[in-house]
């Protein structure tokens, strides 16, 4: 295979997807030639326009709803669905046919992510698709858009980087890689989104980043996307006289993003309209959200601009009579967004927690606490010891103290929000008499993740700094300990460490001494755990008990010993071995003691029907 010509980065986002690329032939070191691919997509029936982003929506039309020509794309004459802007627009009026937030479903531990689930409200006659298939469709669209523009450099031959939230569990990562493979793109590597944002910042400094950070700095990346908030900590160290970046910790999966904020404003305005006796229909909420978003941008850019009118156009052709008008004031925006999502809280504040029972099949496990600052406080508190093993760092105080902050995501275009975020963190630092953190500036907030991913493809080829890190968690399998059962009590479970913290891509952990007996032909399930704080555990470590804070239970894993050449019912002793693939996904294998081929242990297993 010939060398790739381009390093391509794809940000497969909850609400929109972006593809950016670096021309490897003309880029050298810090001199990078980079573009964002204009994505041709349907913007209304039969109409195709280029957009820098592909909204992550699919619309599954009724067979008579649109003519085949209405859905044609430059590269496909007949296609039974619409992706992108048209899908979003049609879906606003016909939500039962709209697939949205597939990415949030992809990491929903309570569902089978290969099962037809979406659209969630679809009646029976609509064939639902799985979160995995939806992701495949978005990738196919981007692939075709690329191949259409670069017929001589097909996407599967380029150096491809796909971003995932740092908080994605192993199953969600594997599904993302699988989606890419199904789209014919098996040439990929995965990159955590906050890291991508930092790469984009590094690139935006034109090589000057070394002047803006120094050994001992701790960079906090807060990435608020459309649907998720992703946190990471990156330590600056030195090796052989050169600065090095180490991702030392990542946050939990928080389903809370910019879209929640616009929606919150829309509800404020809706309540105002309701107080005037004007009732909004569901479809009007989208128009209202849209109106609120632009009013918010006006107000946040200039707090003195006075109340900004928000109008919701009528549905029918009578525009003047049916249009609703109201206003949004700075005070309302400030109260809803700044105080609602970024309240000033103490460093020991913690978000309202969600009980496990909340993980129902019915909906997404949205964050119960909307305060980004409380989630951040919890993260820094939990990770207080994350840097203590690194040279030049020590454990001090009650929380890990960042010295630099990189904010990413469209919401931070509003100066007032980024100032508040910085102010809150610096307030925490002040109470511990620690020096204030500084904001790293200059990243493109909307496109940074895709741009950073493409730059990573360039840096990976030895042409720029790389962030080291490996896996951000250690992983454990649950073993029910051999104790007499006590009625009404769950048998105690021990956690056996299979994969230590910080495993690098393309490495394999050693075999733990413990063995399991698997019955041939019968699927066996294990409880599975991950920890973002237990850095010392090594393969074979056996935990008797732990805090809920320390270990997070992940969806169960399943091993089925193939029956070939064996007697069904036979028990085979195996050991479980972990590895990290070159792509960046975790792999678990059952290794039979008899020296046969190991086989794969599945992460994403169908939930047992209850």
């Amino acid at each position: 295979m010939s060398d790739p010509r381009y390093a391509v980065g794809i940000d497969l986002g909850t609400t929109h997807s972006v593809l950016s690329y670096v021309d490897l032939e003309t880029s050298e070191g810090d001199e990078v030639v980079q573009q964002v691919l204009p994505v041709p997509q349907l913007t209304s029936a039969g109409t195709i326009e280029d957009r820098p982003v592909l909204p992550s929506f699919l619309y599954l039309p009724h067979p008579d709803e649109l003519t085949p020509a209405d859905l044609a794309l430059p590269w496909a004459e007949t296609i039974p669905y619409a992706a992108g802007e048209l899908a979003r627009n049609l879906g606003a009026r016909t939500p039962i046919r709209l697939v949205s937030s597939a990415k949030s479903w992809l990491c929903h531990p309570g569902v089978d992510r290969r099962e037809g689930l979406l659209p969630g409200d679809a009646p029976e006659e609509i064939e639902r698709i799985s979160p995995l298939t939806a992701s495949v469709r978005y990738l196919e669209h981007l692939r075709d858009a690329w191949n259409y523009q670069f017929p001589d450099h097909p996407l599967h031959r380029q150096a491809l980087t796909l971003t995932v939230p740092a908080s994605f569990d192993p199953a969600a990562r594997e599904l993302t890689a699988e989606a890419a493979e199904q789209a014919g793109l098996d040439n990929l590597v995965l990159l955590e989104e906050p890291q991508a944002a930092l790469y984009s910042w590094v690139q935006s400094t034109d090589g000057q980043w070394r002047e803006q950070v120094q050994v001992g700095d701790l960079i906090l990346v807060v990435d608020v996307g459309g649907g998720t908030t992703d946190l990471s900590l990156i330590a600056v160290t030195e090796r052989d006289g050169a600065l090095e970046l180490n991702r030392i910790a990542v946050g939990e999966h928080i389903l809370l993003g910019g879209d929640n904020m616009d929606l919150a404003l829309a509800h404020v305005v809706r309540a105002k309209l309701a107080a005037d006796g004007k009732k909004l229909e569901p479809w009007q909420l989208q128009a209202l959200t849209h109106g609120c978003r632009s009013a918010k941008e006006t107000l946040l850019a200039d707090p003195d601009s006075g109340p900004v009118p928000v109008v919701v156009p009528s549905r029918g052709s009578k525009l003047v009579g049916g249009t609703l008008r109201t206003e949004l004031t700075f005070e309302e925006v400030s109260r809803t967004l700044v105080e609602g999502f970024f309240p000033v809280v103490a460093a020991d504040a913690r978000p309202a927690t969600r009980s496990r029972g909340a993980l129902t099949r019915l909906g997404l496990p949205y964050a119960q606490d909307a305060a980004v600052t409380r989630h951040l406080a919890a993260f820094l508190g939990r990770q207080v010891g994350a840097a203590e093993d690194l040279e030049g760092f020590q454990r001090e105080g009650e929380f890990l103290r960042p010295t630099r902050i990189l904010l990413n995501g469209g919401v931070f275009k509003a100066g007032i929000l980024s100032e508040r975020m910085l102010g809150v963190v610096n307030g925490w630092l002040e109470t511990e008499n620690a020096p204030a953190a500084r904001l790293l500036e200059g990243a493109n907030l909307d496109l940074a993740v895709a741009r950073g991913a493409a730059y990573y493809g360039h840096a990976r080829r030895g042409r720029g700094v790389r962030i080291r890190g490996g896996t951000a968690r250690s992983f454990y399998v649950g073993i029910e300990s051999a104790m007499p059962a006590v009625p009404g009590m769950e048998p105690p479970v021990q956690a056996l460490c299979l994969a230590p913290f910080g495993m690098e891509e393309g490495t394999e952990a050693e075999l733990p001494p413990q063995e399991f007996g698997l019955v041939v032909g019968e699927p066996v399930r294990f409880r599975f755990f991950g920890s973002s704080v237990r850095r010392e555990d090594h393969v074979g470590s056996l935990l008797e008990d732990w805090d809920d804070e320390e270990l997070e239970e992940l969806p169960e894993i399943e091993a089925t010993l193939p029956a070939e050449g064996k007697t069904p019912g036979e028990v085979v002793p195996v050991q479980l071995r972990a590895g990290v693939t070159e792509v960046g996904t975790l792999r678990l294998e059952a290794v039979p003691r008899t020296g046969e081929q190991p086989w794969k242990v599945e992460f994403n297993v169908r939930e047992e029907n209850d």
């Binding site: 039969g46 280029d50 009026r93 525009l319 249009t323």
Partner: protein
């Protein structure tokens, strides 16, 4: 053009002839001095005056682009709804609320599809000079239009010029005359 251009030898003969006559006939030379070479850039097209007015070649504008722009203005800014509505019974406040929808949406549609630029960047009301050989399509002289260029006058309107048009691509067989489909809620 109906006439074919003269051949090379015809042009050579013409040039030599006029070369000689320009040198020898001062009146003809004065007439030629009116023609500034700058007014005849390479590739310029010349109409041939044969003494009688010729029918102008008029072009039918292509309706497709116009329909597309109308559809975009309706889709984003509800322009057709607004223009087709009878404003008679409404208060200015109601009309104002609707005008915001139209203004915001149409502005977005314009920004996305046409790159607009004033013909003259100067402030309106300021004095500007119109040089000889100005583009009479882009600059309209009004009022006391007498004398020879350069003209000096006050900029009453800056004018608009489209520097780039990016219209959506349309699928074969898509009926552009439907500016907005009827919507039927089931």
């Amino acid at each position: 053009m109906s006439e074919a251009s003269p051949s090379f030898f015809q042009r050579l003969s013409l040039a030599l002839n006029f070369f000689y006559r320009t040198l020898t006939e001062p009146d003809l030379a004065r007439a030629f001095a009116w023609l500034k070479w700058t007014e005849f850039p390479p590739g310029a097209k010349f109409a041939i005056d044969e003494g009688k007015p010729k029918a102008a070649v008029l072009k039918e504008a292509d309706a497709e682009g116009a329909l597309q722009i109308l559809a975009l203005l309706q889709q984003d800014g509800r322009l057709i709804d607004f223009l087709q509505e009878d404003m008679g019974g409404y208060s200015d406040a109601d009309i104002g609320a609707a005008a915001r929808v139209v203004h915001e949406g149409c502005r977005k549609a314009l920004r996305e599809h046409l790159k607009l630029q004033p013909v003259h960047e100067e402030e309106e009301g300021s004095r500007i000079t119109v040089d000889r050989g100005f583009d009479a399509t882009a600059i309209r002289l009004t009022g006391n239009v007498v004398g020879e260029p350069p003209f000096s006058g006050s900029l009453a309107h800056r004018g608009w010029r489209v520097t780039e048009v990016t219209l959506p691509r349309i699928a074969e067989g898509h009926d552009l005359r439907v500016l907005a489909p009827a919507e039927v809620e089931l």
